[in-house]
C-alpha cells in the first residue's frame, strides 16, 4: 500500500509541474495573415534576432519573400545573413555546437512552434521574461520556467521582475513589476511581439495564406453541384412508390 502511494506521488510530480505551467493564463493574440505589413515587420524581427540562434529550417528565404511581397533583391540585400542563396533554407547563424556550448542546449527549430505550442503560448512567452539572478543566464520566464534562453530583446522591453504569491502551499506567479524601461514603450513592444507572432503563424503554415480562399471556392462549387445532384435524384425517384 505504502509502495503504491509513493508510486502515485512520484508519478504525479511531473504532472504538478506541468499544471503549474499550464495554470498560467495565456494572453490571446490577434492573428491576421492578410496584414502584409505586420508579417513583414515580424519577419524583420525574426531574421534579425531569433535567427541568430534558432533555425526555421523547413522554410526557404525566397518562398517567404514571395508570400510576404518582399522582392528577391530586398531579401538578398537585407535579410540573407546566414545563407548564400535566396533559395536556401533558413538556418541559424550560430552553429549548433557553439550554441550548445553557450546555452547548454541547442536552441530548437522554430518553424512550427506556433503549431505545436500555439500562437498564444508564443506571444505570452515573448513578453514573460524576468530578471532572476539565481539562473545561469540571469533571466527566467514564467511561461517556460528555468528556460535556457536569455531575454534577447531586453534592450527593447526593459527589465521586469516577477512577483510570486503563495497559493495552496505552492509558489505561483502573480504579476510583473517594471524594473527599468527599455527603448520601446510597453505598447510598442506588445505590438512588435504581436507582429512577430503573426509572422510565426505564417511561418508554421504558409498554405494558410491561400487555403481559406480556395476552400471557399471549392465549397461554393460543391453547393451548386449538390443542387444539381439533388434535382437529378428527385427526377429519377419520381417513379418509386
Amino acid at each position: 500500500m505504502i509502495k503504491k502511494i509513493i508510486i502515485v506521488l512520484l508519478l504525479s510530480v511531473p504532472a504538478l509541474g506541468l499544471a503549474a505551467g499550464n495554470n498560467l493564463k495565456l494572453d490571446s493574440v490577434d492573428i491576421d495573415l492578410s496584414d502584409k505589413a505586420s508579417l513583414q515587420r515580424g519577419a524583420r524581427t525574426f531574421i534579425n534576432y531569433c535567427l541568430s540562434c534558432h533555425s526555421a529550417g523547413y522554410m526557404r528565404y525566397n518562398r517567404m519573400g514571395k508570400d510576404l511581397g518582399i522582392s528577391d533583391e530586398l531579401v538578398s540585400g537585407n535579410l540573407l545573413f546566414a545563407a548564400d542563396k535566396i533559395g536556401d533554407l533558413m538556418k541559424a547563424v550560430m552553429p549548433a555546437e557553439d550554441a550548445k556550448k553557450a546555452f547548454g542546449t541547442v536552441p530548437p527549430d522554430l518553424t512550427l512552434v506556433t503549431r505545436s505550442r500555439g500562437p498564444e503560448w508564443f506571444y505570452t512567452y515573448m513578453r514573460s521574461f524576468y530578471r532572476d539572478e539565481s539562473s545561469a543566464s540571469g533571466w527566467n520566464n514564467v511561461v517556460f520556467p528555468d528556460v535556457a534562453m536569455p531575454h534577447v530583446l531586453y534592450s527593447w522591453q526593459g527589465e521586469q521582475r516577477a512577483i510570486f504569491k503563495e497559493h495552496e502551499g505552492r509558489r505561483v506567479f502573480d504579476r510583473f513589476e517594471v524594473g527599468s524601461s527599455g527603448s520601446m514603450s510597453e505598447e510598442v513592444y506588445t505590438d512588435t511581439m504581436r507582429d512577430l507572432t503573426n509572422f510565426m503563424v505564417y511561418l508554421g503554415e504558409p498554405a494558410k495564406l491561400v487555403r481559406y480562399r480556395i476552400g471557399t471556392y471549392v465549397i461554393i462549387f460543391l453547393l451548386i453541384f449538390l443542387f444539381v445532384a439533388y434535382l437529378l435524384k428527385k427526377e429519377f425517384w419520381k417513379d418509386v412508390h
Partner: protein, 453 residues
C-alpha cells in the same frame, strides 16, 4: 458512331462479361427501396478509400521514409511541393473521416441487424476490413515521424512485450530494433503503402461479392427476396442503378462539402485530427506530457488503461457471474461442464497473468467480440424498429460507454478517470456477453409483410 460503339462493346462482351457484371451488380441488382441516410456510409467508405489511395500515391512521390528525413519531407510537402499542403491535408483529414464513416456504417449494421443470417460472412469480412484499417491507420501515423507518432508507436508496440515468453522477442521483431527506429519506420512505410492497401482492396472486393450474393438488408430488417413479383423481381426492390447511383452521388457531394470544410478551414480540428505534439520531430529523450492516440483509437486505449490490478477483481466477479448465468441457462449437461471448465481456466489465468497483459487481452477482445454478434443475437427480429425496450436500453448504454471511453482515452489516466473507464469497460463488454439473454426475453413487435416508408 453509335453503331461502332455497340460493335466494340459486343466485341469486348464476347471476351469479357461486361454486360453480365454491369447487370448483376448495378442495373439488375435489386436493393430495398426504403434505405435511409445511414445506408450512404457504405458508398462513402468506398469514396474515402479512393481518396486515401490517390492522395497517398502523391504523398509517396515526395515523402522520404528515413528517420533523419521523414519529418522534414512532410514539411517539404507542406511548403515546396505544388499543392502539397492540399494532398497532405486530404490524406490526414481522410484518415479521420474514414473512421467516422466506418463507425457509422457499423452502427447501421448494429441497429438494423445487418450482421444476422444470411449475412454472417458479410459482417465478418467487414470486421476484418475494420481491423485491417486500424493497422493501416496505426502504421500511417508513424510516418510523419512527429513526437506523438514516435511515442504512440513506442507505447502500442511495447504492449506485445506483455505476452509471456515470446513477448519481448515479438516486440523486437515488429520494431526491427530495440526501440522505435529507422528500421521500424521503413517497414511501417512498406506495410502502409503496399501490403495493407492491397489487403484492404481485396477485402472490400470480397465484402461486395458477399453483399451482392445475399442482398442488402434494410431498416425494417425483413428479406425483400421473400416477396417477389411474377417477374421474379422483389416487389420492394429497385435497381441499384440508376436509383441508388444518383442518390449516392447526391450524398457523396454533401459529404465532400463537410470534408472540404474541415480540410480547408480546420485541418487540425483543434488537435483532434492532427495532434499539436506531432508538429515536433520525434525525440527519443522527450516524452510528450500525455501520450494520446488519435480519437478513433481512444475507446480501446481507454480499455487498455482501465485494466489495473483493481480491474482484475472486477473481472473475477464478471467471470463468476457469467458462468453461473450460463450454467443455469443451458440445458445440455456437457455445455454446463464446458462452461465450468472455461470459467475455471479464466479464473486461474486472472491469478497468474499480469494486469498489463489482461489490458492487452481486453483491448483485443473489445474488437473480437464484434465477430460473435451474429451468434450472440437470439432475437426473432433484426431491426431495432421491432425490438423491445431491453435491446434499446442495452444499445444506448453501449453507445454511451463507447463515447465515454473514447473521451477518457484522450484524458490523463487519473484516479477518477480510471474508475469511470473501468465501469465503461464492463458495460461495453456486457452489451455483448448478455446479448443472448436480453435478446431472448425481449418483447418484439410483429414484422410487416412489406417494407415501410
Amino acid at each position: 458512331m453509335q453503331k461502332l460503339l455497340e460493335q466494340s462493346l459486343d466485341w469486348v462482351d464476347a471476351r469479357y462479361p461486361v454486360k453480365k457484371v454491369w447487370d448483376e451488380h448495378l442495373a439488375k441488382y435489386y436493393a430495398p427501396k426504403n434505405f435511409n441516410f445511414l445506408y450512404y456510409f457504405g458508398s462513402l467508405a468506398l469514396v474515402i478509400l479512393v481518396i486515401q489511395i490517390v492522395s497517398g500515391i502523391f504523398l509517396t512521390m515526395h515523402y522520404k521514409p528515413d528517420a533523419n528525413m521523414a519529418f522534414a519531407s512532410v514539411e517539404y510537402i507542406m511548403r515546396d511541393v505544388e499543392w502539397g499542403w492540399l494532398i497532405r491535408y486530404m490524406h490526414s483529414t481522410g484518415a479521420s473521416f474514414f473512421f467516422i464513416v466506418v463507425y457509422m456504417h457499423m452502427y447501421r449494421g448494429l441497429i438494423y441487424g445487418s450482421y444476422r443470417g444470411p449475412r454472417e460472412l458479410l459482417w465478418i469480412v467487414g470486421m476484418v476490413i475494420f481491423v485491417t484499417l486500424m493497422a493501416e491507420a496505426f502504421m500511417g501515423y508513424l510516418l510523419p515521424w512527429g513526437n506523438m507518432s514516435y511515442w504512440g508507436a513506442q507505447v502500442i508496440i511495447s504492449l506485445f512485450g506483455a505476452i509471456p515468453f515470446i513477448g519481448d522477442w515479438l516486440a523486437e521483431f515488429i520494431r526491427g530494433d530495440f526501440v522505435i527506429a529507422d528500421a521500424t519506420l521503413n517497414r511501417f512505410f512498406a506495410l502502409h503503402v503496399a501490403a495493407l492497401p492491397l489487403v484492404l482492396v481485396g477485402l472490400v472486393f470480397a465484402h461486395l461479392v458477399a453483399l451482392h450474393k445475399v442482398g442488402s438488408n434494410n431498416p425494417d430488417g425483413i428479406e425483400i427476396k421473400q416477396n417477389k413479383g411474377p417477374d421474379g423481381i422483389p416487389v420492394d426492390g429497385i435497381p441499384f442503378h440508376p436509383y441508388y447511383t444518383v442518390k449516392d452521388i447526391m450524398a457523396t457531394v454533401f459529404f465532400l462539402i463537410l470534408f472540404a470544410a474541415v480540410m480547408f478551414f480546420v485541418p487540425e480540428l483543434g488537435g483532434w485530427f492532427l495532434e499539436h505534439d506531432n508538429f515536433m520531430p520525434a525525440n527519443v529523450l522527450q516524452t510528450p506530457p500525455e501520450i494520446v492516440p488519435l480519437w478513433y483509437f481512444t475507446p480501446y486505449y481507454s480499455i487498455l488503461r482501465a485494466t489495473t490490478t483493481d480491474m482484475i477483481y472486477v473481472l473475477y466477479g464478471v467471470t463468476v457471474a457469467m458462468a453461473i448465468l450460463t450454467v443455469i441457462s443451458v440445458k445440455d449437461i456437457r455445455a454446463k461442464g464446458a462452461t465450468v471448465v472455461v470459467a475455471a481456466v479464466v479464473l486461474v489465468a486472472l491469478n497468474i497473468l499480469q494486469p498489463k497483459l489482461w489490458g492487452v487481452i481486453l483491448m483485443g477482445s473489445s474488437l473480437m467480440v464484434f465477430f460473435g454478434l451474429p451468434w450472440l443475437d437470439r432475437s426473432p427480429v433484426k431491426s431495432i424498429r421491432y425490438r423491445g425496450w431491453m435491446f434499446k436500453t442495452a444499445l444506448t448504454i453501449f453507445i454511451v460507454s463507447f463515447f465515454v471511453l473514447g473521451f477518457l482515452g484522450t484524458q490523463p489516466a487519473t484516479g477518477l478517470n480510471t474508475r469511470i473507464a473501468m465501469v465503461g469497460t464492463v458495460l461495453y463488454f456486457l452489451f455483448f456477453l448478455l446479448m443472448p439473454w436480453y435478446t431472448t426475453f425481449d418483447k418484439t413487435k410483429p414484422l410487416p409483410e412489406r417494407v415501410t416508408e
